[in-house]
């Protein structure tokens, strides 16, 4: 190799290194607090930092969160490490060194696990609306209900109108020959609406009867896929309109999102006699660094402003029934009048058994 090529090599190497460093510098330096966050939850006591642990669908209007920071002086830091089930499991795993100060997003299918594991500090907010008391997870006040919603089967109105088949309305209808091969649901082991629907059938047919119902569903051609998005967008004939199946597992609020731009009737509707009521809770994390801040945040979640913000941001209904719903919801997304429910403690005692039994029935 000649000295010229060596010099070139040196030059190229230097240039590459410089470019890499410049890029890295711009990248790390450009982050607002990439380095500052490294001290994490440890400093919650000092600077008035409040760490909120949520599920990965948490979302509120930014100006409300800004207002909370301005009113209370706390600096919010959000951590969202997974869906509802993963969230509870992480709280339990990290009990010695908590992930944050306050948690939002535990639902009634995992509530008892969190309470039993002792990762929550009871707190009863003065702001708790009277209409929310019915949703309490237990008597200790470990969890504060914040919002709720119904997981329901949805139908494609157009499909049934075109085929001249009456729409099904109850769970029992789905085992009728007229509805063979029309239903797609999700796996309770991997999807939270799937688990809710399994619980709906437990609520409807009892701990002894639900297995037979699923055997009948299977015989009638129920299709099971893994995730909500794949059921709704691939297998369902409504919404994006590509799939062949006109009945899908979704939410009572889904039809509101299907109202065509410019108004009119949504293409889909919820079967309100097939719903499982899901309640989402907030709680103070035991051993957190900022208990006062945690209380303030829970009060904030129950404030009329946040309650009114929830439908538009998280597709759930406020627990405060005095708060007005968005117009499209009031019209197209009513809640079920008699949703199925199962006691959280019973769910906790049987969740894994039920899922295993379900797998045997449906895959076997």
């Amino acid at each position: 190799m000649t000295s010229t090529t060596r010099r070139r090599l040196a030059r190229t190497t230097a240039a590459t290194a410089a470019a890499a460093l410049a890029l890295a510098g711009c990248s790390l330096g450009g982050g607002d607090d990439g380095g500052a966050a490294a001290d994490g939850t440890g400093s919650s006591t000092g600077g008035g930092r409040l760490t909120v642990v949520t599920h990965d669908s948490f979302h509120l209007s930014q100006d409300l969160l800004d207002q909370f920071e301005a009113d209370t002086g706390y600096q919010l830091e959000m951590v969202a490490p997974g869906d509802g089930g993963a969230l509870v499991n992480q709280l339990i795993l990290t009990a010695d060194s908590p992930l944050g100060d306050v948690v939002y997003g535990i639902d009634n299918s995992f509530a008892a696990r969190a309470i039993d594991a002792g990762v929550l500090e009871p707190y009863t907010s003065e702001k708790l609306p009277a209409s929310a008391e019915q949703y309490a997870a237990d008597d200790s006040g470990s969890l504060t209900p914040v919002d709720m919603g119904d997981v329901c089967l949805n139908v494609d109105h157009r499909w049934f109108a075109e085929k001249g088949v009456p729409e099904p309305t109850t769970l029992e209808d789905l085992t009728e020959p007229a509805y063979k091969d029309l239903l797609v649901v999700t796996n309770p082991a991997t999807s939270s609406p799937g688990l809710s629907f399994l619980l709906a059938t437990v609520g409807a047919f009892g701990e002894d009867g639900w297995q037979q119902y699923w055997k009948d569903l299977k015989a009638n051609g129920v299709k099971v896929v893994e995730g909500w998005s794949d059921a709704y967008y691939v297998d369902f004939s409504g919404s994006e309109g590509a799939g062949p199946r006109p009945i899908v597992l979704s939410y009572a609020s889904s039809p509101a999102a299907e109202v065509p731009e410019g108004g009119g009737e949504p293409r889909t509707g919820a079967m309100l006699d097939t719903c499982f009521r899901q309640v989402e809770y907030a709680g103070v994390i035991a051993g957190g660094q900022n208990e006062a801040g945690a209380h303030a945040f829970i009060d904030f979640l129950l404030s009329p402003e946040v309650q009114a913000d929830i439908p538009g941001q998280m597709y759930m209904y406020p627990v405060d029934d005095t708060v007005e719903l968005p117009a499209a919801w009031a019209e197209h997304a009513p809640l079920a009048e008699h949703p199925f429910t199962v006691d959280p403690a019973t769910i906790n005692a049987h969740r894994e058994d039920w899922i295993a039994t379900w797998s045997d029935i449906v895959t076997g």
């Binding site: 460093l21 995730g227 691939v234």
Partner: protein, 559 residues
């Protein structure tokens, strides 16, 4: 002395990195599964192994990974030949295109595949929805590029004279390929195959989406046991099983690689190859030329297997929320989605992704190059050689361990000062770098190993300092292999979802994270945006890979 210190440092830096950000978290979480009430409890093994489900899952994992690897290699070899040894118009574009699937979020690929295969879809008549075949096809879809690029990168630099000599001596093209070219490519093939195997054996999202409830793998089972059931005992046993499978695969690949490895005549300039010859004029008529078969195979894979699902994605991205056609979904990328599905706009998420990818790439390239340099040395002492091989295998492990295990491990280890990183933004690029390091090593190493050690010895006898030996002998090869390594590391980081979704802070999501979020919300607007964002990610990746290639050829002409 200085030399010793240099190598010690080159060994220590990667080891510390791997130790802190991989081994410690993984051991901590797996350890929890085996300790109950302060005492070691291995009864979980018996529990898990007496379940018939476990054996079924292990079998499925092996079958799926072996088939996926075999097909990726079989189809990837002609691809490597056509895209790296033949010249034709649009080659650079095709090269960039084949890498796109590698980085697409599995939830998008799953939906794209299922849209094609589901009853009522364009390929619904094949009846592949929810079958084992669909999973294997998707695995090949993801990993084809790995084989094409790693093998192609080596092939491109092989000195063609050896094969030409064989041909001149009367060997048929097939024979010359089998006896001369294939053995020379073997280390690169083994390198690519071992990586594809690891990616297939630990594929998660796409197996879940396409396989449904019947086709669980060890990886999906660990995920369910950990995140849904909190059965750490079962998860720990399964993690150990996965490690055993991975270690065995690595040992096997390493052995076959080492047996094949030898110094090759490599060219420092990338050979631009010969003109693609599809037809030959012989006698009066036209016959298929020598490149016709590989070209046809490659075209079939690129158009059929890679093109169809991607085309479905692109087409869908132009369908507007009101059912017409247009750019509305792309315009919406500047918003936070219908009903504010996101906390930031897709463009902001893209910026986060790019920043993160730069950090992850720098880390991965520094650590990966150090590893490759150390491993490329063949010490005389047997024990030292063993140590080098072990060192090599260690850095492949991150590809073989479940993202959930690593993520949960981070939660319970990096949680106290001085290393409280759980909510820190730097954890995301670090986690991505851990995954990208094996890519860098496997891309750079085959090239470094093929350098004739006599070159280094000669340089050393001429009293060149170790640094100078490195710069003059390894340097030119290294720089060129680095183009590809940087491209891959960047692509891995852009597309990484498992660890990222676990660690990304809600206010700073990456592109795959926002795609996942958009696709998980009802409303035509959000779905359309998810498709447009996926196309954006695909274009970004293709551009990055294209630029990485271009950098390389430009340097090559300069030398």
């Amino acid at each position: 002395m200085v030399r010793r210190l240099g190598w010690a440092l080159a060994t220590a830096v990667p080891l510390v990195f791997l130790g802190v950000f991989f081994a410690w978290p993984v051991l901590a979480i797996v350890g929890r599964g085996f300790v109950s009430d302060g005492a070691l409890d291995l009864s979980a093994f018996a529990d898990v192994f007496t379940r018939s489900r476990t054996w079924r899952i292990v079998g499925l994992t092996l079958a799926q990974a072996s088939l996926g690897t075999a097909l990726s290699v079989l189809l990837g070899l002609p691809g490597a030949y056509v895209l790296y040894r033949c010249r034709f118009r649009g080659r650079a574009l095709v090269r960039a295109f084949v890498t796109v699937p590698f980085v697409l979020p599995s939830v998008v690929v799953g939906v794209a595949f299922r849209a094609l295969l589901a009853e009522g879809g364009p390929l619904g008549f094949l009846g592949l929805d929810g079958t084992f075949a669909a999973i294997v096809a998707a695995l090949v879809f993801f990993n084809y590029a790995l084989v094409v690029r790693i093998v192609g990168g080596m092939w491109q630099r092989l000195d063609p004279r050896a094969e030409e000599a064989a041909r001149a001596l009367g060997a048929s093209p097939a024979r010359a390929f089998r006896t001369v070219t294939l053995p020379a490519l073997a280390p690169a093939i083994a390198s690519a195959a071992s990586m594809v195997f690891l990616f297939c054996a630990t594929a998660f999202g796409v197996v879940l989406v396409l396989g449904g409830i019947r086709f669980g793998t060890i990886e999906t089972e660990i995920w369910i046991q950990t995140t849904q059931f909190l059965d750490l005992r079962a998860a720990a046993v399964l993690s150990v099983v996965q490690l055993v499978v991975v270690a065995a695969a690595l040992a096997l690949a390493g052995r076959s690689r080492r047996r094949q490895e030898r110094a090759l005549r490599l060219r420092t300039d990338a050979d631009t190859g010969h003109r693609l010859t599809l037809v030959a004029r012989r006698g009066g008529g036209l016959r298929p030329g020598p490149d016709a078969l590989p070209a046809a195979l490659t075209a079939a894979v690129v158009v059929g297997l890679l093109g169809l699902p991607l085309a479905g994605l692109v087409v869908r991205s132009f369908r507007t929320p009101d059912g017409g056609w247009g750019l509305a979904n792309y315009v919406n990328l500047g918003t936070t989605g219908g009903d504010n599905a996101l906390t930031v706009t897709v463009w902001e998420a893209t910026e986060n992704s790019l920043r993160t990818a730069v950090d992850a790439t720098v880390m991965a390239v520094v650590v990966g190059t150090l590893v490759a340099l150390v491993v490329s040395r063949r010490p005389r002492r047997r024990a030292a050689r063993r140590a080098v091989n072990l060192f090599d295998a260690l850095f492949m492990l991150p590809l073989g361990v479940s993202a959930v295990t690593v993520g949960f491990g981070f939660l319970i280890t990096l949680n106290r000062p001085p290393l409280d990183l759980r909510t820190s933004a730097v954890l995301v690029p670090i986690a991505q770098a851990v995954v990208a390091v094996p890519m860098v090593v496997r891309t750079v190493l085959p090239v470094l190993r093929a350098i004739d050690p006599r070159l280094r010895e000669a340089a050393a006898t001429l009293r060149a300092s170790p640094g100078r030996v490195l710069a003059t002998v390894d340097g030119p090869f290294l720089v060129r292999a680095l183009g590809l390594a940087i491209g891959f590391a960047f692509a891995v980081s852009l597309g990484e979802f498992g660890a990222t979704s676990f660690l990304a802070r809600p206010d700073r999501p990456t592109l795959p994270v926002v795609i996942f979020r958009l696709i998980g919300r009802p409303g035509a607007e959000n779905y359309g945006m998810a498709m447009a964002a996926a196309v954006l990610l695909a274009v970004l990746t293709a551009t990055v890979m294209g630029v990485a290639e271009r950098l390389r050829t430009k340097e090559a002409t300069e030398w």
